[in-house]
């Protein structure tokens, strides 16, 4: 049985180029579908067609038809489809109407005119289905990201739709929150038979339970089928899948568990890159750094040294003090202990929107250059480094989350600080944005700069850090080279588990170049 049926759909936004080209695809009832593609490939547009948000609230020119549970979106507005499709945005905050979890779930039902007795029961069921009954009386503003997103999903399925459409539901979340959300989705699909259609970056979690994946490029379907068949050639595939593709493993592993059996076979020798220990001029030296909020110690006696060429990744769970450490290095919070700064410091906060005010990307960078009287030529250098050149005349707020994040970094970096402090820079970034960021960090450190990155993303740490610091309750519990710190840790990136001591695919680079020759 078909749940969502795309029939030769083409669409262009008002004043925009074509976003979808002749999409024809049937999403069957009870299935899980992944929509893959780079930023701007039309993923969101395709998902938004499923409940008529495109074209009814976006405007634009629409060809073809999407039929959801027998209703055409040509004649049905999003509000006429609330009982068949639930929609969840990237940003959980965008969902809440009522400052009370239970009330917010009931909000949709009340608008549909459901009887109070039935509503009462439905709210209970939805709270249990998502495992959030303990949050019922909380204000959504006080919840963590993963809890917020689960409450948002609860609101979306309150009207008992047969399909749930999610646009990168975990991209703004930390790994723990993301896992909770994905686990909730698996349960909805397995236990309630809810059809799920989603765009998602964290494929290692979802690829194994998806029935169908659709890969979009420039608005057209370039490949579709079972995830294993599609992911081998996809940039954003889980790292073990990419490894399997490089080494010709069959069937392609989608996660560490599936990759393990292959490692028993004779595996290629790994030639890890030499670990580069920066030993240039000391740019910043902090000793016994302590930050106390009221009575709680957010950062406790941390020593940190930044030399020319240092890239330090700061890992740790939410609330471990990562952000506070960065803010104290930037001089933004009151601290005790000593910080000796021999270079200028630029700080990029977690939320890129806090920094973006100009009307084009280029103007955003130019503002920094003008205010700090730095070098005009840095604008083009940083646009190029962060792969933003093609977006330079767009409005920052029209960009995707990952692109905005890069604009914020560029806007700080053009001021010419030698030390860059980046707080969770890969939030919401797709594979291409992340590669651009890694290259930019490497370029900056290679020219004698230093970078400190607070992140949950161990693969980012593995890819570009010269040393890794792990914080727990504000204390430094580990400090050393990425390989030393990550080996044998629960944090270890998947590649290090499968094929130690490889940290990134580049450690295998000379392997497959020699194979090809």
């Amino acid at each position: 049985m078909t749940s969502i049926d795309f029939r030769s759909v083409s669409f262009s936004y008002p004043h925009g180029s074509q976003a979808l080209r002749d999409i024809t695809k049937s999403i069957s009832d009870g299935s899980v579908t992944l929509v893959l593609g780079e930023s701007g490939s039309g993923k969101s547009t395709m998902l938004r067609c499923a409940n008529g948000l495109v074209p009814h609230s976006s405007g634009g020119t629409f060809t073809g038809d999407v039929v959801v549970a027998g209703r055409s979106i040509r004649s049905h507005h999003p509000r006429d489809l609330t009982d068949v499709v639930g929609f969840v945005h990237q940003d959980p905050e965008a969902h809440f109407v009522v400052d009370h979890v239970e009330g917010d779930i009931a909000f949709a039902l009340e608008n549909l005119g459901m009887a109070p007795i039935a509503m009462r029961r439905r709210v209970e069921e939805v709270l249990d289905a998502l495992g959030i009954a303990h949050l019922r009386d909380r204000d959504p503003a006080t919840l963590s990201g993963g809890e917020k997103q689960r409450c948002a999903i609860a609101g979306a399925i309150a009207a008992a739709p047969t399909a749930l459409v999610l646009d990168e539901p975990t991209s703004q979340l930390d790994p723990q929150g993301a896992d909770d959300v994905i686990a909730a989705l698996v349960r909805l699909n397995h236990d309630l038979g809810c059809t799920i259609m989603m765009a998602e970056h964290r494929l290692e979690r979802v690829a194994t339970f998806a029935d169908l994946s659709i890969r979009l490029d420039a608005g057209a379907i370039v490949a579709s089928g079972e995830p294993r068949a599609i992911l081998g050639t996809y940039d954003g595939a889980p790292i073990v899948t990419q490894l399997g593709a490089v080494l010709g493993w069959h069937p392609l592993p989608l996660n560490v568990r599936e990759a393990k059996p292959f490692v028993a076979n004779p595996v290629p020798r790994v030639s890890p890159r030499d670990e580069h220990v920066p030993n240039g001029r000391v740019l910043l030296e902090a000793r016994d750094l302590t930050v106390t909020y009221n009575v709680r110690r957010a950062v406790a006696s941390v020593d940190i040294q930044l030399c020319e060429g240092s890239v330090i990744a700061v890992l740790g769970r939410n609330g471990a003090g990562k952000s506070t450490l960065l803010r104290s290095l930037a001089g933004l919070v009151r601290h005790s202990g000593s910080i000796e700064r021999n270079a200028r410091v630029g700080f990029v906060p977690q939320n890129p929107n806090d920094l973006l005010h100009a009307s084009t990307v280029r103007a955003e960078l130019a503002t920094t250059v003008r205010m700090l009287r730095s070098d005009q030529s840095l604008i083009d250098i940083w646009l190029e480094r962060l792969a933003l050149t093609s977006h330079s005349s767009r409005h920052p707020r029209d960009l995707s989350g990952g692109e905005r994040q890069r604009v914020a970094i560029a806007a700080v970096a053009v001021g010419g600080p030698e030390i860059l402090l980046l707080d969770e820079p890969t939030r919401g970034m797709d594979a291409r944005s992340r590669d651009a960021l890694v290259r930019a960090v490497e370029a900056h450190s290679a020219r004698g700069g230093a970078v400190v990155i607070a992140t949950h993303d161990v693969e980012l740490a593995a890819a570009c850090a010269t040393s890794v610091v792990v914080l727990a309750d504000g204390e430094k519990i580990a400090d050393g080279s990425p390989r030393d710190v990550l080996t044998g840790s629960m944090f270890a990136p998947p590649l290090l588990r499968v094929l130690p001591p490889a940290l990134t695919l580049r450690d295998l680079a000379d392997l497959h170049s020699s194979e090809k020759s």
Partner: protein, 274 residues
């Protein structure tokens, strides 16, 4: 009730929007053609105008909703703008004049005349509540401001093709004119209240049309002209100085208010239907 509401769907919103200037003209111009004594100000008729204006405002919004021409995002944008504009009413500009004009004019120019009217209604009502200025004058203020918003919206449709600098100059000039026009009209609501004062600028219901106009003009120049002039200058200065970024920001969300959707048939000879 439901069938009544669904029958509303068939009324073109233009009817409501056209009724606004008609009701407005009637509400304001009666001192020029009425010849009966004894209506002490608006104590007798204010409620009629209040009811009519409220009906128009509610009717316009209800129609927009029923016809689904307004999205949830559109209502949110309108709500935010209305509360901002309403709050600006507290701000008295240097020399006189009200802070709400510039935002209303810019928002209407960016978002169109329908939005201008709805925003004026909502903002003036909100401003009235905020400043404690709810009284028989409120419907008159709402009507007059709605007309200011409507014309700003129509003007904005024409000026949107100009360069930003030129556009803010045109809108600034409109703000200058609008301050006098609003002042000229709004004083009419309570001018007849002063009938008994016996001076030569007071309303006298026994005068003919031409003499009434002359008397009113003397009253306006003596009491309100300088005040409105200060407001006019302030309006145009603010519009010219902040107009460009405000228009840019508002035009970015313009398509949210009433997205224009075109469905193209898939058959070979594609026909565009709005």
């Amino acid at each position: 009730m439901t069938s009544f509401l669904s029958s509303l769907r068939k009324i073109p919103p233009a009817v409501v929007y056209l009724a606004i200037p008609i009701v407005g003209t009637a509400a304001f111009s009666w001192p020029f053609w009425i010849d009966t004594k004894g209506n002490a100000g608006h104590s007798a008729d204010a409620w009629i105008w209040a009811a009519l204006v409220s009906a128009l405002a509610v009717g316009a919004v209800a129609l927009e909703l029923k016809r689904a021409s307004m999205t949830a995002a559109g209502i949110a944008i309108l709500g935010v703008l209305a509360s901002m504009t309403g709050l600006l009413r507290i701000v008295d500009l240097p020399g006189g004049g009200s802070g709400m004009f510039f935002l209303l004019i810019l928002a209407a120019a960016a978002l169109g005349p329908r939005c201008g009217v709805l925003l004026a209604f909502a903002a003036m009502a909100a401003g009235g509540v905020i400043t404690g200025g709810v009284g028989p004058w409120l419907p008159f203020q709402m009507l007059a401001l709605a007309v200011v918003g409507a014309f700003a919206g129509l003007l904005g449709n024409l000026t949107s093709h100009l360069r930003p600098r030129a556009e803010t100059m045109v809108l600034g000039f409109y703000g200058f004119i609008a301050a006098f026009a609003y002042g000229l009209v709004i004083n009419l609501w309570d001018w007849p209240l002063r009938e008994s004062s016996g001076s030569d600028i007071a309303f006298n219901s026994s005068l003919g049309f031409a003499d009434t106009v002359g008397t009113y003009w003397r009253f306006y120049t003596a009491t309100s002209l300088a005040w409105d002039g200060a407001g006019a200058i302030a309006n145009s200065i603010i519009i010219v100085s902040v107009g460009t970024p405000v228009l840019l920001a508002l035009r970015r969300v313009q398509h949210r208010i009433s997205p224009s959707v075109y469905f193209v048939e898939t058959t070979a000879d594609a026909t565009v239907t709005p």
